[in-house]
Subunit: 354 residues, 4 copies
């Protein structure tokens, strides 16, 4: 079968691999649609290390082809998705609710980011077929009448972005600022809207993304290349600051901006993947006396999470398709990587069809 | 092998059963210690229906004898316990954190009390051997240096009782009243103490239980056969009422008492298994305007829960052995039922050794 | 000045009262708009007792006429609202966050419903002028560009209804059923929508109210005079039940229906003012083992709550004006009571202008 | 009257001031006991700026001498304490529950650390008499039978330290590490014990403080001058890390240590007053993907907080007197500062009697 394979930093190719065989708790999925994530670009660039020969991708939409001998409750032929994070459900971390930090099948039970396996520690979704591990915890049946493309954002982007809004504990009437409006940030903006924030301020420097932020529910957009975002957010909140700030890029500037716009007692929800140590400026942190919270979220996974996100899509509350700007066949996956990695042509997310 | 088998209401006998064979996700445990629960007495009396021929019991301590083919992370010979509730970890309910309401292997994923399988829908622990379903989610290794008897309360009584304190969201400085001081109520009292309540009022009518309540951490005890518990709790809280009231019997009188002693905005944590409709008196409920909460808890299970409770026991914070007042061999299980069902001889909990 | 005065059960009249004089912590407000609440009808009917001679009403919109000597931070002439509940902010209950159960100026600090003073224990808002007690905690300035009518629902109906959604802890992707679609229930429906529920089911038997429920965000409406609401909700949730059910009428039937449609582990948020003892059916309550929660909410008050709700109105997320179906002058307040009490002419809420 | 007055960095003297006169919402307290806080040493050293001439101190125990004209619910002669933080109760911040960030009487309502007024923005407690602002929210009556010395830790040290445990959301069975065992850290250790942690690890380099940590409830103590605390905590948690780490010093080393010992999904509760920017190391932060939380807490205040802490003291759960190692008269306050600032003679906390 065909697969997008990581060879070495700078090189992901379309190659051939043997058909995988599911173990007793696995499912074999025929991929019908998948996409490329910003994290995949980190892998491509060598900023996040995976072993050579690994199939990349962690956002699968497909059809059940074969079920492991110990898998109950599903049937061959069902249309399904699985989350980017595929927790075991049975580890100590999972049982305590930290599915993304699931030690999966280690005796220990806890491992940082241990729930992220697809395209990280085992072969991923940018291929003709995919093994979904711990299938009973991870296969989520797509509701009738919902297209593959509509649910393509559920496995990662939507789960992560809305997870950032949820981790911010947004309440009705909150002011919320979201720093960066890439796909994750846009979903965080949509999540803030879904949760009842009444003053949503989205920050980026790309006009198309700011326009999309408005479409996703932002009340105000700030182009940080024209306006200082911290002072603008303070102005838009009458000097009060926001209840919740969401960081969606993974850089010092966005992290620090998010901290500086918080009201005393506010909450910084961080979604970005950082590449460097972070600095917490003493003044922005009120010397540790501001009753601030800083929380980080790794994409929530598991079939119940996917079921809920697909219900949101089905309800029409969230225009998931608006984020898919480009379509490619799996044969053209290398081109897709090129377009996505260089943000050519106003790309937000690409759809890849085997 | 020997097993305590439910035949019909009024009749649980020691019988013979074939050795069970574990499925791929199961573990076979050789039981080294178990006990009888108040719920087993409901089964015995026919108040809770199970099918004839079922092995009773849901509080296993034992040694791993055999592991299913798909079970990883454990070894034959390890000393383990499993909770009374054995969630799959992989159902929708489990993944959302409601392990006790786990639909286990139904496609639907949710089922009221679905996590309770041992001695309810599958054979239980009062036997020489036990199948633990979904072993990876449910086997919890006993720490070195801790005896079987020390952990015997973990699978149900301690998990339920302390779960009632936890569901009450007890905070440092809270006043808490616990209605009924059977084994569950005593563990709720201990839980209130563990969580930082500063004014703990335990209510029962049996002197030995009230004495044990003091041992478990109660500041005050109230014998309801001598004093009206509602007015006494109000007196002991200077007319303010308690922040949290815990119901630990399953009757209208204890439920209503718990509601009547709540301060406005207080929380009633209900643990009892009720046999009849409940009445919420209009005045006690402030006509629905008192910002009250009523929460119910079914015994939390799963291996992480068990690991934590065993850590509490190992820390010396909770004197679990004090609750085990009587010892029997499995051959004498019928006598054990008789003593426990009729609360003879000051019995709190019995230990049964195969 | 003119005031709507309760004389005796069945009799509220427009009478004359002397101009009130504010104490040091009070503010005197010239009322510019107010409304009648369902609770006022309970008072009119004698179902809720207040003393004869009391001015009724607890939903004030007005202008600051005079400030008490100890009041800082406000100016005469500012347009303001105050919540139906006027907590002191300084009682033990308030300081712990239970503002509605504020004992206000009692040494004790806690009193069931103690935060409700306007039109209950002190003169209310259906008058030319109103004393707002503890003005510093309760005056909320109306943002520029927002009309009196737009904020008329904030003091009670919107705060209570959305408070019911909040107390339900609604999450993105939840299914929610709301029993009864009077003004409070409609606001609860709007609140469920604001908080991200993806499957909102509104229940009533009046076509206009069901239509308004759709306008407020319901995905499905159920006319209980034509369809059994419990089985219909179960059907609309594929047999799973709802995550959160909101009771918004105060009767056994709605309370019981709400309980019966809950999934295991679900949450019943009760808003109604009950007139009788409630029954919790054993089966609906899973004998106390369903991990259910039942929570009640009295209208949240205080100036920060009002500020937030006015921000929601200003954001355009909630069409508050749609609920105001009828307009009266204060001189016609007796007619207004007649129309509202008998739900004539499709009335939802009336606006009364002094 | 006598007062400890800040003159300039390095100079706090005992001076004379006129008797203060309470405003309408104030109370005048005759101080019977007070103490010096680490924050006062920051003021003395010029690390935290206050205006010259200010009376220092924010930990008052005393007797009501006079009540402002608008104060209800108290009587002259009552023995009381007030918290170090004296929220108004009526600001937006207070009404939302962020009392320490109370903007008190600003129209805005929010101000970082705005609740801290005593010995910061108004005259403090190290004097013969003290004005307690917003007396109705802040005077807490000492229970009969409890000595001044027993409640001396309530206004700040105990509230802050236990607040750190509370902000850590410690649960039954948690592992908790506390970095630094000064008075605040010791109270955090006691708080962890009160909340049910089963594995409490206290870290410092002073033997007497480590001994006191055991007295306060630590299961293990680590002398960081002899052992690397991070690897030792990992060893004591079998490589799992702690659920909650508490920082109680305000330095990079303790902050970073606390982060490094967290399990994935763990929570860092920060109490220290920092003097420099902080660094979050990329690896310790799992690049932002570890589901970590970092929370800061400023001493919770208000009379309900004080009431609860005094109940804890009265219950005998917390040996508050053990922390008071030295006694001075107000006349010797300069000596007391010298002893406390230089940590002479094993001092933990000093008691100062006017």
């Amino acid at each position: 079968m065909r697969a997008a394979i990581f060879i070495e930093p700078g090189k992901i190719i379309l190659g051939e691999k043997p058909m995988p065989v599911p173990g007793p708790k696995d499912a074999l999925i025929r991929i019908t649609l998948t996409t490329i994530c910003g994290t995949d670009i980190h892998i491509l660039k060598g900023e996040y290390a995976v072993k050579s020969g690994l199939t990349i991708g962690h956002e699968p939409v497909g059809v059940i082809e074969q079920l492991g001998s110990a898998v109950e409750g599903f049937e061959v032929g069902q249309r399904v998705i699985a989350g980017a994070i595929t927790p075991s459900g049975t580890s100590n971390a999972s049982l305590l609710g930290f599915h993304s930090q699931c030690g999966c099948h280690t005796p220990h039970g806890w491992q940082s980011m241990g729930g992220w396996r697809l395209g990280n520690t085992i072969d991923g979704a940018q291929a003709d077929y995919l093994i979904v591990p711990d299938a009973m915890a991870n296969l989520a049946v797509i509701p009738d009448g919902i297209s593959d493309e509509q649910v393509l954002m559920c496995p990662d982007i939507m789960s992560t972005g809305m997870g950032g809004a949820e981790a911010g504990h947004i309440r009705i009437g909150d002011s919320v600022a979201i720093f960066a409006q890439g796909p994750i940030g846009l979903c965080a903006t949509a999540g803030a809207r879904l949760m009842g924030a009444s003053n949503i301020i989205a920050i980026d420097n790309i006009t198309e993304r700011l326009d999309m932020a408005k479409h996703m529910g932002a009340d105000h957009v700030v182009d940080f290349s024209r306006t200082d975002p911290v002072s603008e957010v303070m102005r838009l909140t009458s000097g009060r600051g926001v209840d919740v700030a969401i960081e969606a890029l993974g850089q010092q500037s966005t992290f620090e901006g998010a901290l500086r716009v918080l009201r005393p007692g506010g909450r910084l929800s961080s979604l970005g993947v950082y590449s460097n140590d972070l600095k917490i400026p003493l003044d922005a942190f009120a010397a540790g006396l501001g009753d601030h919270s800083i929380v980080t979220t790794l994409c929530p996974g598991g079939k119940e999470r996917m079921r809920r996100l697909m219900e949101v899509v089905a309800s029409g509350r969230f225009d998931s398709k608006a984020l898919v700007t480009h379509h490619f066949s799996l044969d053209d996956v290398e081109t897709a990587y090129d377009v996505f990695a260089h943000q050519r042509d106003g790309v937000l997310k690409v759809a890849i069809k085997p």
